[in-house]
């Protein structure tokens, strides 16, 4: 009986530590990415994704696809977060997970190119913001994954908040790169 009570309503000190670990992990990843991108000498050269006119367009379309999956993720996440009052259908959790996984995997070639070939640049406000947002995005993603590991002990607001940060930073990343490229150089492959 007591153990069940603990599982249903864990005391504060049970979630504070896992959450602190998750946030610290996220911060560490964000910092590590930023420092590596800043200190590593940009190679100015990286693998191309076939079928696009330039690496820039390949990255822009990959990011756009990631944003589309992220929208699905947020929509299903929003529905799932209302769980106790209105249980979501079981398939929704699967769609939520897989849309998120696909979205994040789509961003991996992009961030590798960004960090390896270009690095952390500050020569314009857009570029500066994009670099900072990239670090925040991956930091928040790692924090969210680590929170999920112990999500039964976490308060209900943790995952929606982290998910929101991940989604907003991804959309902002897209707006400062792909949207900018499409607006200034045209929408094509």
């Amino acid at each position: 009986m007591t153990t069940q009570q603990v599982a249903v309503a864990p005391p504060r000190d049970r979630w504070a530590k896992p959450l602190a670990v998750a946030l610290a992990g996220g911060c560490a990843v964000a910092l590590a990415l930023g420092l590596y991108a800043r200190l590593h000498h940009p190679a100015r050269y990286a693998l191309d994704v076939a079928g696009f006119s330039s690496p820039l367009y390949a990255k822009a379309w990959l990011t756009t696809a990631a944003v589309v999956f992220a929208v699905v993720q947020v929509a299903t996440g929003w529905r799932i977060s209302r769980q106790p009052t209105a249980p979501a259908p079981a398939w929704m959790a699967a769609v939520h997970r897989w849309s998120g996984r696909i979205a994040i995997l789509l961003t991996v070639p992009v961030i590798v190119h960004c960090i390896y070939a270009l690095g952390f640049q500050t020569y314009s406000a857009r570029v500066y913001a994009h670099c900072v947002l990239g670090c925040i995005f991956y930091g928040a993603f790692v924090a969210k994954m680590l929170s999920l590991v112990r999500r039964d002990t976490m308060p209900r607001w943790v995952l929606p908040v982290l998910g929101f940060v991940v989604f907003v930073s991804l959309v902002a990343l897209w707006a400062t790169s792909a949207l900018w490229l499409f607006a200034t150089h045209g929408v094509h492959s």
Partner: protein
């Protein structure tokens, strides 16, 4: 309760990132081994774009060219820097994006044709001190451009084929200087000229260098002393590569120190005091300072039009 799903997702991201990073380092290697990739990425940040037009580049169609051109597209969207040495050409395009495009190609009868990865192309024709042409397939568009011939200091740094000596040659228009040494007891200062794609330098006691500029490199023979001759190759190199010099007094002895610095920061130098020669102290390439016998001194980068060999 601990869930593994999120950790698997995290691991998948890390594995994919490592695979991409690994693939990138594999792809990037041929690029860095071929000197032009690294050499051509330099000019956009340095003097090429701002150099004033000059009159010394020989640019009549049909003759051998050795020139640098800097300019912009007609709409100002793209800056372009083009190096021509003999029949080879290389260019850098920069559109204010974080990524530049490096191109290579050939020159024939005053016409320059270059291509880069991603299908970017450049065609130009030399007309007097200017080059006019079109960049195609860059960011999905074509850009007409014009560029003016520029006199710029160029540094060619390299080694002899058997690694016996290290050398740096600095050209400035049709003038050039060089320094060759082995870092211990052999060294020579060289002075001379650039004529077309031929570089001819001479020094004291039979020292000399003859080189041919080809693309972004110089090949030839260098003699640090009479009767000693080595084949060498040197590539067009960004700072800190160059020739550095210090004339100081150590223990009452007038001492001249020279350094040949390669683009990766590797440096070899020799100090000469009278007839004594010894390895030069390491040069701090951040502020060109060095320490000898507890005293701190400063060296200076030698320009291509300076006099380093007094007759």
């Amino acid at each position: 309760m601990t869930r593994r799903g999120p950790l698997i997702t995290l691991c998948a991201v890390i594995v994919l990132a490592v695979i991409f990073l690994w693939a990138n380092t594999l792809v990037a290697k041929p690029g860095s081994a071929a000197a032009p990739t690294s050499a051509t990425s330099v000019p956009a940040t340095s003097p090429w774009a701002t150099s004033a037009p000059s009159t010394s580049a020989s640019t009549s169609a049909g003759t051998t060219l050795h020139a640098l051109y800097a300019g912009r597209s007609s709409g100002d969207q793209v800056t372009v820097a083009i190096a021509i040495n003999g029949g080879k050409a290389a260019a850098d395009l920069n559109a204010g994006l974080p990524s530049e495009v490096s191109m290579q190609g050939s020159v024939s009868g005053g016409r320059v044709t270059m291509t880069a990865q991603n299908g970017v192309g450049l065609e130009g024709s030399v007309s007097g001190q200017d080059m006019f042409g079109t960049i195609t397939g860059f960011l999905g568009q074509s850009f007409p451009f014009s560029a003016a011939a520029a006199v710029v200091e160029a540094v060619y740094a390299g080694r002899s084929a058997g690694n016996q000596v290290t050398l740096s040659v600095v050209t400035d228009g049709d003038k050039a200087i060089g320094y060759v040494c082995n870092g211990r007891n052999v060294q020579a200062w060289l002075q001379g000229s650039v004529n077309g794609n031929q570089v001819t330098l001479t020094g004291r006691d039979g020292a000399g260098l003859t080189g041919t500029l080809s693309g972004l490199a110089m090949f030839g023979m260098v003699s640090p002393a009479a009767g000693v001759s080595f084949p060498f190759s040197a590539e067009l190199s960004p700072r800190p590569a160059g020739v550095y010099q210090a004339r100081i007094t150590v223990d009452g002895l007038a001492t001249r120190i020279g350094w040949a610095v390669l683009p990766d920061g590797i440096q070899l130098g020799v100090a000469v005091a009278g007839t004594t020669k010894y390895a030069a102290p390491p040069l701090d390439l951040g502020d060109d300072s060095f320490t000898l016998g507890g005293e701190s001194y400063r060296a200076s980068a030698v320009a291509g039009n300076q006099t380093v060999v007094t007759p």
